[in-house]
Symmetry: C2
Subunit: 332 residues, 2 copies
């Protein structure tokens, strides 16, 4: 295993030190492993929290800041954060207007956030609502999930709903919007290689030199099928077709994200996006906004995922609103 780490068991703690050194504009609670927006907007804004296992950076810590999240709870690599981390974060960020938990659909995350929401409500009277993302069209259930997995739409949701909260919308409105965004987004990913979890020290799965995994999960969970290695044009088809078969994206603008999985360089991501764009255009999808780069990753896995979100004028306006985080920034 070749990684820029010290001891495998210290990866998260050490990485959080780097985050706090690189981003004085954030506040890192090293004990609870929570990354906070350092200067909360203290006038009763609905607070947004997300979190999950580490190894998907910039998700979620890289999306804490003005216009997105108020806090991110960081679990160990590919391991759910604990309820006590979430209770701490929920209590700290609440400004009296309630807290939205943004949870990717994985069994551990869903269970722990549910428990934390109940505890925060019971102990501190915080009103907590939850949106569970489940946009991955690859498989219905998986090793780690009942129902579909939550993947790339989570990034878009945190941006759009973050802007809505920043505008001062109340918890009911923020919750409604978040559910609408999740319902209107679909994703599909593929891997050229496995990732290697530091604590395991070896690749999560074996993938022969002439094969790829279509529909892979962000923890290396099996996808739909293992197929022969193909060119970017064919890979794009295998990613886009299942997305377009699952939801009708015609008749309005869409936001498209092509995210690398961590080990794939930007030149390949742009190349693949070129193929994706051709297919979307052919299918009559009107791409209004695009994001190409590493946004939801799987450690050092080589590969990519595509997310398409059916938008409208209001969603585009919220997308364009100013944001200042480590992972997404414009207008500020």
């Amino acid at each position: 295993m070749k990684k820029l780490i010290n001891k495998p068991e210290d990866v998260l703690a050490d990485a959080l030190k780097g985050v706090s050194e690189a981003h004085p504009e954030l506040r890192v609670d090293h004990q609870h492993r929570v990354i906070y927006r350092a200067q909360p907007k203290d006038h009763g804004k609905v607070a947004l929290i997300s979190g999950g296992g580490s190894g998907h950076e910039p998700l979620h810590g890289g999306f804490v800041g003005v216009g997105m999240l108020d806090a991110a709870c960081c679990g160990e690599v590919f391991t759910s954060p604990t309820p006590d981390q979430m209770v701490e974060a929920t209590t700290v960020v609440d400004q009296g207007a309630g807290v939205l938990h943004i949870v990717k659909n994985y069994t551990g995350d869903v269970m722990n956030f549910e428990m934390a929401g109940e505890m925060a409500a019971a102990d501190s009277g915080v009103r907590v609502e939850t949106v569970v993302t489940d946009d991955d069209v690859a498989v219905q259930d998986s090793t780690w999930t009942a129902g579909r997995r939550g993947v790339g739409v989570t990034v878009l949701l945190e941006k759009i709903v973050g802007a809505a909260a920043e505008e001062g919308r109340d918890l009911d409105a923020v919750l409604d919007l978040s559910k609408r965004i999740n319902a209107q987004g679909r994703s599909m990913g593929m891997a050229l290689t496995s990732c290697t979890v530091p604590a395991a020290g070896k690749p999560t799965f074996d993938l022969p030199e002439d094969q790829m995994e279509m529909g892979v999960g962000i923890h290396g969970e099996p996808g739909r099928k293992r197929v022969p290695l193909a060119g970017a044009a064919e890979i794009a088809e295998q990613l886009v077709d299942p997305i377009l078969s699952d939801l009708d994206f015609q008749g309005g603008p869409s936001i498209v994200m092509l995210s690398g999985l961590g080990g794939t360089p930007l030149i390949e991501l742009y190349l693949l996006y070129g193929e994706v764009a051709v297919l979307l255009e052919k299918a009559g999808v009107q791409v209004a906004r695009t994001l190409v780069g590493d946004y939801i990753t799987s450690l050092d896995m080589a590969g990519a995922s595509v997310t398409v979100l059916k938008a409208d004028d209001e969603i585009l306006r919220l997308w364009d609103a100013p944001v200042k985080t480590a992972g997404l920034r414009w207008g500020l």
Copy 2:
């Protein structure tokens, strides 16, 4: 070779299609393989051009836009662009105030940009000045270079000098500043793995599982030495010590960039930055601004480089100025 590409010989052309699809705010000349800022600031601004072999993205195409470059000339992977690309770009972007060529110190790039500068001056009367970056402390000469190689400082220079040009400074002032930035920056990189050039189809060099290459070049050129694999704390020392031995960074603020080489995930980059920050603090370096992520890469190479730039209040002000490019964006 596992890559998200079609034919190896089409990588650059295909990637440029993706860039133009993803960034309607840029203008891509697919014939000359030049990426332009679509809406030039047409009031006699000094124009900035850079370029070089592809495979280092987001450098340079990702730094075209308001507050940075006016154009980037894209060579084939790890191959200098040709003089005719540079002449075309120089002629197109000139607004009458002259053009600065920002050239990384590699033999082919330096030769071709020199030829292009002379041709543009002779044919179109454009005044061209050139800054050659050579910040890599690893080796004095290399396979591809007489003198030191130009690496990470190029990113910081394009940002800072881009802001100065945007303010309306004349070509002499812009040139002076660019030389000062280069003189005040130092970099050092390391590789855990080789990269694979698509046209070659196999890794550029062999690096055993228990070794790493200190001082590696951004094309996989040999560095200072091949040493046993070590933890992040020791790697940080081996990167920071040669930088601090080469220039005195005390007595003022510095800008620090930790760039991944393309195959290393963000969690490892932050982890390594945590170690770098500790060493810089111990050495009395005052880190005023930080950039952690993929900014100057080597295809899919796993590893990282550190760049430290001695700054001052004026340089920090130019650093903070608004920028809107695919690879760096704030304030706009």
